[in-house]
Structures are given as structure tokens and as C-alpha cells.
């Protein structure tokens, strides 16, 4: 299958390891991955911060860039959520009915990674090997906006060597929420503290999730407290094999000050 990669601006710039892992994984499964060059950002940050008008050109660009492809994948539940639940709304609010209907069409062909693997490609055992104790944070937008359900967990259970431990209060938000983490930094930190407490209680050495943004948040906290627990994107785990090595690149935070 020919699959267009919607890399997301965050993975492109800050977490390329997750995006490269997505490419390696899909190619290993025998699919062709293409990278539409004109893509930038889905505009979610603008929409969620109250700048829908500024998001219109970003929605237009996204739709133009991805419209030619039958299947589109992003290693992010949040960005897929924006494509699926916000793009048409933004277009409609701007009075562009044609853009709204094209956005809906693109959205129907856009999948979060675990959805693509399980629903479109029909695979739960991707042949991965990852010999670590892992706990999985479901991320709000994957869980509630997309309803990915247990797809990521099914994928993780099939990974050889992986010891999956349940995260207490897994469904609670980690406190990221985009600009929420800046505008309401104290509340965000309080939410993060509880998330980290739960992660640490599992004894896992890796906290996994399907969203680079939430991982940046949780990982930033775990790193600041020198917990020794690292955050790893679901794609990186699924891309790991006995032959290819289990961690080609590190993507955890470093000390900022």
C-alpha cells in the first residue's frame, strides 16, 4: 500500500525519531511510504488557542498537500484529531464550504498509527522486539477524540520481550494541553506530578504513548526529576527488532538549565 506520511510539525522538528520509526515500520511491513513535501502544521495550536482565522491557510495547505493520497498516517492522535474534528469546522466558519468538504474527505483518509496498523493494514503483531518494562499512557485525543480503544495495547502486547505494565489512572490527562501548559502552568504541573507518580509506581523503565506532545510533557517532567524513566513513542517500539536494534536514536529530554 502507498501511504502518505503526515509527519506533524513537532515530530518533524523535535522528535524525528518517531517519524523515522514510522517510516521504517511501514516499509518493513512491505508498504511504500511517501512524504508530501509541502506539509507544515495542521494548525491545531492556532485553533485551540483561539486563532481560528489564522488557521485557515494552514488547513487549506494541509488539504491541498494531502488530497492526492488515498491513505494518510500520522504518528500523533492529537494531530489526526485536529484533522478529523477541527479542519472542516474551521473552513466552515471561514465560509469556505468547498474547503470544508475537501477537509472532510482528507480526514476520512487520515489515520493515527495504531488505527492504520490494526484497522487498515489488519496487523497487530508487527514483528517487533523490545526487551523493556513498558507502561502505556493512552493520551486524551487518541483515547477520546479518536476512540482508538485498545489498539495500541494490542500492538504492544504482541511485541516480543516487552513487559507491559498497567498505568494507574491511565485515562487522566497528563496536563499538556498545548498552550494550557503555558497559560495554566501551575495546574498543568499538578496534573503532570500525578501522572509521573503513577508512571513511577509501575516500576517501568519506559513510558510509551502515541503522541510526541504528551511524551514531551511527561518526559520533560521525568527528566527534570532525574527519575531514570524515559519516554518512547509507540512507533519507535513497534519499529524495533532483534536485527535492527531496539533504540536507534534517543528522543528523551535533556536538562535545560
Amino acid at each position: 500500500m502507498r501511504i502518505a506520511l503526515f509527519v506533524t510539525c513537532l515530530a518533524d522538528t523535535v522528535f524525528p525519531a518517531a517519524a523515522k520509526a514510522t517510516v521504517r515500520l511501514l516499509e518493513r511491513l512491505g508498504h511504500e511510504v511517501v512524504f508530501p513535501e509541502g506539509q507544515t502544521c495542521c494548525g491545531q495550536m492556532h485553533v485551540n488557542t483561539g486563532y481560528q482565522e489564522q488557521a485557515v491557510p494552514l488547513v487549506r495547505r494541509h488539504v491541498r498537500v494531502f488530497d492526492p493520497y488515498d491513505v494518510i498516517v500520522a504518528p500523533s492522535g492529537s494531530c489526526v484529531g485536529s484533522v478529523r474534528h477541527q479542519h472542516a469546522m474551521v473552513a466552515r466558519r471561514a465560509g469556505d464550504v468547498r474547503l470544508a468538504s475537501r477537509a472532510e474527505s482528507v480526514a476520512a483518509r487520515t489515520f493515527e498509527l495504531s488505527e492504520l496498523l490494526v484497522d487498515v493494514l489488519g496487523v497487530t503483531d508487527v514483528g517487533a522486539f523490545f526487551p523493556h518494562r513498558v507502561t502505556y499512557h493512552p493520551t486524551c485525543h487518541s483515547l477520546r477524540m479518536l476512540g482508538v480503544g485498545d489498539r495500541p495495547v494490542r500492538l504492544l502486547r504482541a511485541v516480543r520481550g516487552l513487559d507491559l505494565v498497567e498505568l494507574p489512572a491511565a485515562e487522566q490527562c497528563c496536563g499538556f494541553g498545548g498552550t494550557f501548559a503555558v497559560k495554566n502552568a501551575d495546574t498543568s504541573t499538578a496534573m503532570l506530578a500525578d501522572k509521573m507518580r503513577h508512571v513511577l509506581s509501575t516500576g517501568a523503565d519506559v513510558c510509551a504513548a502515541g503522541d510526541a506532545s504528551c511524551l514531551m510533557h511527561i518526559g520533560g517532567g521525568l527528566s527534570r526529576l532525574r527519575t531514570g524513566v524515559r519516554t518512547v513513542h509507540l512507533a519507535e517500539i513497534l519499529a524495533s527488532t532483534e536485527q535492527g536494534g531496539t533504540m536507534s536514536e534517543r528522543s528523551e529530554p535533556v536538562v535545560a538549565s
Binding site: 523515522k20 512524504f35 495550536m45 488557521a55 487522566q172 494541553g177 494550557f180 503555558v182 535545560a256
Partner: protein, 476 residues
């Protein structure tokens, strides 16, 4: 003022009632987050109610169908609100009640004060009611020399503690049993000095304290959960029996109700009486529900007044996206599942309507500028939408209201520049390189500058890799 102006949708006036906070949410939240006792009380209470509610909702195989029906009934109500209110007025009047209309909090307070004065009573007993909290009725009554006695246990705790309510359903949720005992010992006249902090003992103390007041007060003020347009029937849903006392014993009953509480038909109650108890207190049915239609000769109050309140609701209704906030049946499920509410409590929201529903309802009732920080008091995690028994899409509303909120000038400039760069790939690539450079300086420096410093106060920044994904892809 012209007739045209008077007849246009209007927000709730300032200077009366409790819809506006004194400080922005982040500042109030910061203080609340530092209160370890509050954090513990809220964490315990919300975890308890979440588990209870999930249990009884799990028993109902058609929960999603009930939610869909509840949402649709409310949408239908809003679409036909004027005619339903006229129908309700006719039915209540035919059954011996008197209907009053109040365009805002001041008018509603004046109507109630006049009605109480006409009875000659200097005291009213009150059933917990969000509408009367919203309009500041207690303050208006006190100013008129009339003593309002809150009879709901949690409201009594708040009133005796000279505190503010912090939850829609359980206004004293921020207090634990030990604190409640202290408040009773300090402020409840005639209380047993040997009072323990056993919940049953505390409840019994409230029973003893209020019993004589119930029996000797001739006027009651209530809110309403539902009002049926076709029959004129009012419904109040409660637990303790204080509602029954107020709705049964006095000679005069005054009910203050937001206009959106009307439902079209008797049959519609079959949906809400299933949704509300399971979503709110996590019970299959709350202990007591009272329904009355006008006046029943020989049974209960012989004078019944219904005050229909706008106070900003017409402005909410005017927003095609925002009006779904008027579906709210005040169950509090969204508060109980909200990770922000669970940590900050209700006072941080300023308004009597806290939590996710408050973050969308309060700014709409007052105009967004008067509650500009509330639409941002959410991580958009979506738990509230899943929990809402009438399917209010609160995350969608939050985003909608953020678009209307006044934006800081610096932020607006940054967002515009970012959008411009992201729509120009060459600029975007340059910005990516700049991110890498700023990282290099940041490693030597002290984290990010304000307003981004909130991030680096508690979290490390990721190391920006030497190569972006698209550079890697281009070299493959």
C-alpha cells in the same frame, strides 16, 4: 433605551450575583493548588463519585440512547423556547400558580423580595438552587431585612462557614468531615458540644438544627430541575428531604428557574429522571423527587409563584454553537471527571458555575470579556464531553469561546507570525533551524523566557536533534 435594544439578546449585568470572579483563573488556581487539604478532599470526593457513577451507569444497557434522547430533547427545547415558555405559563396559571418574568438578576431579586414582603415573613427557607446563587438572591434578601436559611446540608455548611460554594451539586465538597465538625461547633446555635465527625452524626445535627425552622417558616424559595410545558408541572430532585420540607410545609412557595429548564412534555421526564441521578450522585435514583403542578387544595403551599429568569440566557441562545451549554441539567458529572477541577476546586473559577460547564457557561452568560480566562482553564482532554449525560461538547465550546476571547497583544503577534511561517515552507524550514539554534543557547541559559517560562519551571525541554525529519528524508 429603545424597544429594539431591549428586545435584543443580553448578557447578565455586572454588579449583582455571582458569575464573575475577582481574579483570572491561573492566579486563583495557583493559590488553590498550594492547599494540600483541599487537594486531598477533592481528590477523595471526586474519585468516590466517579466510581459510584460509573457503576450505576454500567447497569444501564441503553445509556447512550438515553444520552442521545436527552440531548435531542434539550435541542428541541431551545429551538422552541419562546412558545414552550408561553405554554408553561398558561399551564401553571391554569393550575393556580402565578408566573413572573425576570430579564436579569436585579429584576428577579426584586420580584422575590416583594413577594416575601407581601407575606409579612422576615425569613425564608431555601432549597439548594443554582439560579438563586447565580443572581445573589441571599444578599438581596438580607439587604431587605429578610433572613434566607439554606437547608441543604452542603449549603448550610457553606453558609455557617461564611464560605463560598465550590461545586454545583455538593457546594461544600472542599470540606472534609473534620472541617465540617469544626464549622458546626463554631457556628451552629445549640449544637451538641460532644459532636463527633461521623457523617451520620453531622447529618443528625443538621436535622435537629433545622427542624423547628422548617415547621415555623411560612415562605420557601426553590429552584427547579424541570418544568413541563404541557402540564405546568415543576420537579425538584434532592436527597435529604429538606426539599420536601420547603416544598410542602410553608404557605407560600417561590420557585426561581432559568428559562432553559422547561421541557416540552410529561413523557420527557422519563429520560432526565434516568440520566440525572446516575450522572450526578451516582445513584439509580436520588432519595426524593417532588413534583407539583400549581396549587393543590389542602396539600402543600396554597400560594405558588414561578419566576422565569433570563439573566444572560438569551445571549447564550443567540450563539448557534454556544447554545448547547443551555442543555446543562446541573448534574456535575463534568466537574467530577475534570482533571483541572479535581486539582483546583471550584473557587478558582470565580463563578457559581465551576468546572468544565462553568468554563463555557459563565463566559457566555457574562460576555467572554468578563470571564476571559475561563475558556483556557482546560487541557481539552475531553473527559467532560464523555461524561455529560446530555452530550454537551464542552471541548468544542471551549475552543469556540477562545476564539472570541480578547488575546494578549504579544501572543497574537507570535501566533500570526507562526501561521505565516507555517504557510511558507521556506520560512518554516528556517524556523526549524532557528529552533535548533535557540536550543543551543538555551542549554547554556536558564530555560525559556516569560511567558514560556512556566514550562521550564517544572519540566526539561527536549534536545532538538541536529537534523529534522524532512532533512533526513531528503538525504535518503
Amino acid at each position: 433605551m429603545t424597544r429594539t435594544f431591549l428586545g435584543m439578546p443580553a448578557t447578565a449585568p455586572a454588579g449583582v450575583g455571582h458569575l464573575r470572579g475577582e481574579e483570572p483563573f491561573p492566579a486563583a488556581a495557583r493559590r488553590a493548588l498550594a492547599d494540600a487539604q483541599l487537594r486531598r478532599n477533592l481528590g477523595h470526593a471526586t474519585a468516590t463519585i466517579r466510581a459510584k457513577s460509573a457503576g450505576v451507569i454500567g447497569e444501564v444497557p441503553d445509556w447512550e440512547r438515553l444520552r442521545a434522547a436527552g440531548s435531542a430533547i434539550k435541542a428541541d427545547v431551545l429551538a422552541r423556547l419562546p412558545e414552550l415558555l408561553e405554554q408553561l405559563e398558561a399551564a401553571v396559571t391554569a393550575a393556580g400558580g402565578v408566573v413572573h418574568w425576570a430579564a436579569d438578576a436585579n429584576e428577579a431579586n426584586a420580584i422575590v423580595v416583594d413577594l416575601v414582603r407581601a407575606t409579612g415573613s422576615d425569613r425564608v427557607i431555601k432549597v439548594k438552587s443554582m439560579a438563586t446563587q447565580e443572581i445573589g438572591l441571599n444578599e438581596a434578601l438580607e439587604a431587605a431585612g429578610i433572613a434566607p436559611v439554606e437547608t441543604d446540608l452542603a449549603e448550610l455548611i457553606v453558609q455557617l462557614g461564611e464560605d463560598r460554594p465550590s461545586h454545583i451539586l455538593v457546594p461544600a465538597i472542599h470540606r472534609n468531615r473534620a472541617e465540617i465538625r469544626e464549622i458546626f461547633l463554631r457556628a451552629m446555635p445549640g449544637v451538641d458540644p460532644e459532636l463527633t465527625d461521623e457523617p451520620a452524626v453531622l447529618a443528625a445535627a443538621a436535622r435537629r438544627f433545622l427542624r423547628q425552622t422548617f415547621l415555623s417558616t411560612s415562605v420557601a424559595v426553590s429552584g427547579a430541575n424541570f418544568a413541563v410545558a404541557e402540564t405546568g408541572t415543576l420537579a425538584v430532585v434532592e436527597s435529604e428531604g429538606n426539599g420536601r420540607m420547603c416544598l410542602t410545609l410553608p404557605r407560600t412557595l417561590i420557585t426561581v428557574m432559568g428559562v432553559e429548564k422547561v421541557v416540552p412534555t410529561w413523557r420527557d421526564l422519563e429520560v432526565f429522571l434516568q440520566l440525572l441521578p446516575r450522572a450526578s450522585t451516582g445513584e439509580r435514583m436520588n432519595p426524593y423527587t417532588s413534583m407539583w403542578t400549581g396549587v393543590t387544595p389542602g396539600d402543600g403551599p396554597q400560594a405558588f409563584h414561578l419566576v422565569l429568569l433570563d439573566n444572560g440566557r438569551s445571549a447564550v441562545l443567540a450563539d448557534e454553537v454556544g447554545r448547547q451549554a443551555l442543555h446543562c441539567i446541573r448534574c456535575s458529572a463534568c466537574l467530577n471527571v475534570c482533571p483541572v477541577y479535581e486539582r483546583t476546586g471550584g473557587h478558582a473559577y470565580g463563578s457559581v458555575y465551576p468546572g468544565p460547564i462553568g468554563a463555557v457557561l459563565s463566559p457566555q452568560l457574562t460576555g467572554v470579556a468578563d470571564n476571559a480566562s475561563l475558556p483556557y482553564a482546560s487541557s481539552l482532554c475531553g473527559a467532560c464531553y464523555d461524561a455529560c449525560p446530555v452530550k454537551i461538547n464542552i471541548p468544542e465550546l471551549l475552543v469556540h469561546l477562545r476564539d472570541q476571547a480578547p488575546h494578549p497583544r504579544g501572543e497574537a503577534a507570535v501566533m500570526a507570525a507562526a501561521a505565516y511561517a507555517m504557510d511558507h515552507p521556506a520560512l518554516y524550514a528556517a524556523a526549524q533551524r532557528a529552533t535548533r539554534l535557540s536550543r543551543l543557547t538555551g542549554r547554556r541559559g536558564r530555560g525559556l523566557p516569560p511567558p514560556l517560562s512556566g514550562w521550564t519551571a517544572g519540566r526539561d525541554l527536549p534536545e532538538v536533534p541536529a537534523q529534522t525529519f524532512r532533512q533526513w528524508w531528503a538525504q535518503r
